[in-house]
Structures are given as C-alpha cells and as structure tokens.
C-alpha cells in the first residue's frame, strides 16, 4: 500500500510542473482562450516532444505503455495551471477508444499521428435528450451499400471546431456503434460556441452523412462496453485535473485572505473564514485520495471499478462545488471578476462537476450496482 510517487512518476510530474510554470503562469491565458484554436499549437508540439501524447499508448504503436496513474499525475498538474490543450479529447477519450476498440489498421493509422501531435480528435457521444447516458443514442447509421448513412444530432462536442476527426456514436441495426468521421464531410454541419470554461465546442447535426465500412470503429453494435470503459478513464482524468485545480484554488485563496485587509486586519484572521477555508481544504484532501485510488484501481483492473468510478465522481463533484464556490465567496468582490484567476478555477471546477455525468447521475448509477429490494 503506497500512495507516494515512484521516481519516474515524480519526474513526469516535475516536467509537467515546469511546463505549467513556463507557459501558463506568466503568459496571457485569456489570449489563448480567445484565439481561433482555443489553445496553443506550439504547446501541443511541446506535449508531443515531451512524450505526453504517447503516454498511455502501447509500445507497439510508439507509446510508453503508461497507466491511468500516469495520466492522473499529468492531468492533476495540468489542472493546477488550467491548461487549455485538448489532452482529454484527443488522447484520453478518442485515443483511448481507438486503442481499445480500433482495428489494427485504425490503430496503426491514428495512434502514431496522435503521438506525433499531427492529429487531434473529438468525441461526440451525447445528444440533447440523452442526459449523461451514453447508451441513449437516437442518431442512426443506416446500412448503405458497403457503408453507412448517418443522421442525427450530437451536442456539446469539446474541441469540435479544431479536431481533425470525430469519433461519434450512432445506432445501427445491431445497436450502438462508433464511427470515425473526417471534419468537413458533406452533410456534417457544425455549430461552434465558446464554453463556460473558455474552450471551443460544437453541436453536430448529421444529414445523410455517407461513410465507408472502414469508418466503423470496433464491432457493430459493440460500442457501449468500450465507451463505458473509456468514460471511466476520462472520469479519472478529469477528477485528477479537478484535484490540481482545487489545490491551486485553495492556495490562491489562502494567499489572498492572508493579505486582504478589512477592519484593519487580514480577513484570514476571522474565524468564520478560517473554518470555511478549512472545510474547502478537507474536501480537496478527500477528493485527492479518491482520485488517486481510482487511478490505481483502473490500472489494476479491479472488479469493483464501476462503483469506484461513480463514488469518485460524486466525491470530486461535490468538492469541486464547495471549493469553487467557497473560493469566490472568500475573495469577495474580486472573486466576481473575469480579470482575477479565481473565477476561472471556479468555472472549470463547475464544468468538471458535470462532465461525464453530474453527482446525481453517478450516485444513481452507484446505487443501481446494489439494487434495493
């Protein structure tokens, strides 16, 4: 039993920490947010050079064979800096699906390109009426000669505008299936928008989008187990990210209430504020423990992983709310401004609370694993 980092893991963390310090602490994150890409292509090249894009992939595809624990270490540190690059979309979600469900040809095509930093992808799995349930798919893929004709609507696809390809779920006669689609296919229409956490995303509507048989990712009708597994890893990744963001938010808040004066003293000398900060700290501590443990359980392939995924998302979601809201409140007026960093932490933490399912969704699924009589 050991929650401490190995030497290699410490090195990984240190390298990501250096990146955040060099590229996010002294530059203008807002400029990146409002750029067309929404992140920095230069940073992305650095991600490739550092080997981070290769981290979770198998060695046969040029990867490092890293585990969910390594991903968590990386994401936690990125979370401290509110890093904008699309690691989650391209590597964890899309890359994860290709590695898990893709044919050899698809893996050999896509994974090396991801690792090289030459290809970004986005996952389109939710629809306006699906809530957070990946199995609720109304988009259809009708057989059409060798290939398929896709019709339907997908919502809130992170990195939709900038991704080179989409992985998209649609229902065939055999059930929910995954497809790899190029940007700009005829009939694939995108509505782009900024997100609350300063990224780009899109809704996608599909009207008779025609794809060949090679677009099918994994067996027809077999998408759900793969999706669930990759979404579990994505939960781990965003929980780790939230842990990093919460640690940073608590430090920023601590530093602020130590120096901000009212009534002639630092506001950090007021007991009600101290105790509120302590409660934020406790929430963050518990979230960290769950996030670490989930990553280890995913790595070890434990049987009770689903319960642990749900429990962790519930714990981290609540902590994210308490820390985010508390940080804004303890800052007072300045917490309500766009200029000051704390608001951005609050927004990202709010979004993480709902990404891949909010607390109610995961608590309900947690309960369903052990049904009441």
């Amino acid at each position: 039993m050991d929650f401490n980092l190995t030497e290699e893991q410490s090195m990984l963390r240190d390298s990501v920490e250096r990146f955040v310090a060099d590229h996010y602490q002294n530059t203008d994150r807002a400029a990146l947010v409002y750029s067309d890409l929404g992140y920095s292509a230069e940073h992305w090249r650095l991600f490739a050079e550092m080997g981070w894009l290769a981290l979770p992939f198998a060695e046969q595809h040029g990867g490092f064979g890293g585990t969910p624990v390594d991903t968590a270490i990386l994401m936690e540190t990125l979370g401290r800096g509110l890093v904008l690059e699309p690691y989650l979309s391209t590597v964890v979600l899309a890359g994860g699906l290709v590695a898990l469900a893709g044919s050899e040809v698809q893996q050999a095509d896509i994974i090396p390109q991801i690792i090289a930093g030459d290809l970004t992808l986005a996952l389109a799995y939710l629809e306006p009426a699906s809530g957070f349930d990946p199995s609720h798919v109304a988009t259809t893929a009708r057989s059409d000669g060798d290939g398929f004709l896709l019709n339907g609507y997908k919502c809130v696809v992170y990195q939709g505008p900038s991704a080179d390809r989409f992985i998209l779920s649609a229902r065939t006669e055999k059930g929910v299936s995954l497809f790899v689609l190029e940007q700009g296919l005829p009939g694939l229409c995108r509505k782009d928008f900024k997100t609350l956490d300063g990224q780009w995303a899109s809704d996608l509507s599909l009207e008779d989008v025609s794809v060949g048989p090679e677009a099918l990712l994994g067996g027809e009708g077999l998408a759900l187990p793969a999706l669930e597994q990759v979404l579990g890893r994505a939960v781990s990744a965003v929980c780790a990210e939230a842990v990093g963001s919460m640690a940073a938010a608590n430090e920023i808040t601590r530093d602020y209430i130590r120096v901000r004066e009212q009534f002639g003293v630092a506001i950090g000398s007021f007991q009600a504020l101290q105790h509120r900060w302590v409660d934020m700290h406790i929430e963050a501590e518990l979230a960290k423990s769950m996030s670490d443990a989930l990553a280890m359980r995913l790595r070890d392939g434990d049987e009770d992983v689903p319960a642990m995924v749900h429990a962790t998302k519930v714990t981290v979601g609540r902590a994210a709310q308490i820390v985010g809201q508390g940080a804004v409140q303890l800052h007072g007026g300045i917490g309500m401004t766009d200029d000051y960093a704390i608001g951005h932490y609050y927004k990202r933490l709010s979004i993480i609370d709902l990404l891949f399912g909010n607390q109610d969704y995961h608590a309900t699924r947690y309960e369903a694993l052990e049904p009441a009589q």
Binding site: L196, D203, K347
Partner: protein, 397 residues
C-alpha cells in the same frame, strides 16, 4: 392573527396586475424573465411608462411625486412588479431619493428629484473603494475645500452602471483627522466633470455592469454636498437601511421555481424526464418549501413593522436566507440544462441580444444569471457581515 390582505389591498393588487399585464413591454418582460440585464434605453422606456402612471417612486412621499401607498401596499407592489418580471427600480429612486428628501437642501430637492422621476438623470452609487468593501469606514477618497468647490481625489470600485450614469452620489473623506466613521461627506458629482475616468470591470458572467471610477482633481461645487460636512456617514447609514428593505426577493425566486419546474418536467434525461430523478425533485421541493417559509417570514416581519416595532436583525435574516435560496435555485437551473450548461458566450447579456443557437430556448440566460448571482452573498453586505450584524444585535458579543 390573520393571513389575508384587506379588500382594499386586494383591489389595489388587481389594479397593479392589470397595469403590468397591459403596459409592461414584452421585450423587457422577456429579458427580465430570463434574468438578463435590461439596457439603459429600455429601462428608461419603461420608467417613462411608470412616470406617466404616477408610480415611478412608490417609496417617496406624495409631495415629491411619490405615492400614498401604505406599507402593505408597497409590499404588494414590490411583489407584483417582481412577479410580472418588471425591471427593478434604479438607485436614484431607491437610494438617493430618500436621502435627498430627508437631508437635502430645498434647491437640491427641487432640482434633482423631478429629474430622477422623469428619468432625465441616471445615478450611480460611489461607495465602495478598493480598501473599503465590507468596511466602509475605511474610505480613502479625499475631498479638500478649494474656494466654492471640493477637489476630489481617489478611487471607487464595484460601481454598478457608472458607464450609463449621468451623476454619482458619493462618500468622500473631508476630515482625515477624525475618527474613521466621522469626517465623511456625501457629495453629488456630475459624471462629465473633468478628471473622472471610468474603467469597466468585466464580471464572472463576462458582462459589464461593474466599474472602477477614478477621480483626479475633480471639482465638485460645495452646494452639491448633501447635509452637513463630515456627517455623510449618518446619511449613508440611513440609506443602508432603506437598501435592506424588501431584500428577500421572494417573488423573483418564485419565478425561478416556476422556470425550474417547467424545464424539469419538459427536459428529457436519458430514459425519463429530469423531474423523474427523485434527488433532483427533492432538492426542488426543499427550496420551494424554504421559499414559502421565507415569504411568511417576510410577511411576519412586515406585520411587526406595521405594529410599530423597531427594525432589528430582520433585514439581515431575509438577506441571508433570500440569497441562499436564489443561489440554490440558480444552481439547480444550471443543472437542469445538463450538458447545455456548458455553452457560454461573453456578450449574451448586455452588448447584444445574440446568443448561441444551440440547445433549447429555455437555456438562454440561465448560466449568465447563475454566474451573476454568485454575487448575491457578496455585495450589499456579504452574508458573513450579515451574520456579524445579527450576532452583535442578539448575542451582544
């Protein structure tokens, strides 16, 4: 004990409802209903309608152009206006008017009050400073006599709508040697006076309602001082008390509950509807019940006030619980959107009416109102300060 309003009050209520149904423009009602900010021109358009009806300043005495409404009628009116999604009255009406009426000179009243009633002047409030938020006694902005003028230097912050304002009522320090709460004066400043610079503060909601106001050698005629020199704190306290009446915002929250229930029973969530989630349902009913309790508490306090009991910690209690309920409801509204809580555009509220054409129509405004609403427990005396006030009054510790 009696819950019902008298028949006169009920007739009055019907009159209000009829007026609001007929005269409140749909576009303005729509923006308010979504919690979006109403632009200055639209606001003035509505205020002129109110002025024509004689209801521009319900809280002023009749002789200054106000109404002869009883306290109960004022309560009913505030509730009906909010229930109809009418814009809230402005600072000039709610805050400056009462101070001028109580402490202003005859000239000041004659000049400023009609201009407020006719919406010829928009006022902003120059209160908070970077070092004086919760602790207003720590004001640093200086006003030094120079002949018939004061020369004002300093900085104000969190000044709502300064960019729309024609004038600002403002606290300045006129005697730095006096004790913190002494030596403060209350000035009326034209916003086009040289030396005033306004810098927007972009909020969490990416909207622009707040500002910093920098004052450099701003000349303010001494006749623009309200009341005595160095007595501004007294007037400010009077004004603060006015500010804290009707703070529970029950009607606004009831409107949020209605929106929430409508969305939750229409919004598909996987296999069922959102309202099918027992947890979500329970959180809604808990807040709805809390709101009911808050409303009866407001009425109970109103009935104490009518009986002539002095105001104690009641406004702070209403403010704390009212703001907590608002934030709870706005949080649930965002959650009701599922993944459509994610899209957010920075000019969706003020600069233009454009908004994302993704997601259901009901999502428009919800996230912005939620973000803006985080300030409900911070501005106007944070909830921590309100708890201190109650503690001081009741525990005496």
């Amino acid at each position: 004990m009696n819950l019902a309003f008298g028949s006169k009050d009920l007739i009055f209520q019907q009159e209000l409802q009829a007026f609001l149904a007929e005269c409140l423009p749909d576009d303005i009602r729509e923006r308010c209903a979504r919690g979006l900010i109403v632009g200055n021109e639209d606001l003035i358009r509505w205020q002129r309608i109110l002025y024509d009806r004689g209801w521009m300043a319900p809280n002023w005495p009749v002789e200054y152009g106000g109404t002869d409404w009883t306290l109960t009628q004022k309560y009913i009116a505030a509730r009906e206006f909010a229930a109809a999604c009418a814009p809230l009255p402005t600072f000039g009406i709610t805050m400056l008017g009462p101070v001028l009426i109580a402490f202003g000179s005859a000239e000041q009243k004659a000049f400023y009050l009609p201009r407020i009633l006719k919406s010829e002047d928009v006022w902003c409030q120059g209160y908070s400073e970077p070092g004086a938020g919760s602790d207003l006694a720590n004001l640093k902005t200086r006003a030094v006599r120079a002949g018939d003028d004061y020369l004002v230097n300093g900085q104000k912050i969190w000044t709502s709508y300064a960019h729309w304002a024609d004038r600002m009522f403002c606290l300045v320090r006129t005697d730095p040697a006096a004790k913190p709460q002494k030596g403060i004066s209350f000035l009326l400043i034209d916003m086009d006076t040289p030396g005033i610079e306004i810098k927007p503060i972009i909020g969490l909601d990416m909207g622009h309602t707040l500002n910093e106001v920098f004052l450099s050698d701003v000349r303010v005629p001494v006749k623009n001082r309200v009341g005595e020199e160095n007595e501004g704190w007294t007037y400010a306290k009077y004004l603060l008390q006015k500010e804290r009446s009707f703070v529970a915002r029950v009607a606004q929250s009831r409107h949020l509950v209605q929106r929430l229930k409508r969305i939750a029973s229409e919004q598909k969530m996987g296999a069922g509807y959102l309202f099918g989630s027992a947890e979500f349902r329970r959180r809604v009913s808990r807040l709805e019940i809390d709101l009911q309790a808050l409303e009866y508490t407001e009425l109970r306090y109103l009935s104490k006030e009518l009986q002539g009991e002095p105001v104690g910690p009641e406004p702070s209690i209403l403010k704390i619980r009212g703001s907590e309920i608002q934030q709870g409801l706005k949080q649930l509204l965002v959650e009701s959107l599922g993944m459509y809580g994610v899209p957010y555009e920075n000019d969706s509220m003020t600069v233009s009416d454009s908004y994302m054409e993704v997601g259901p129509d009901h999502r428009h405004g919800i996230v912005a109102e939620h973000l803006y609403g985080r300030g409900a427990t911070i501005f106007g005396g944070s909830n921590e300060i309100q708890r201190n006030i109650i503690s001081r009054m009741l525990l005496g510790t």
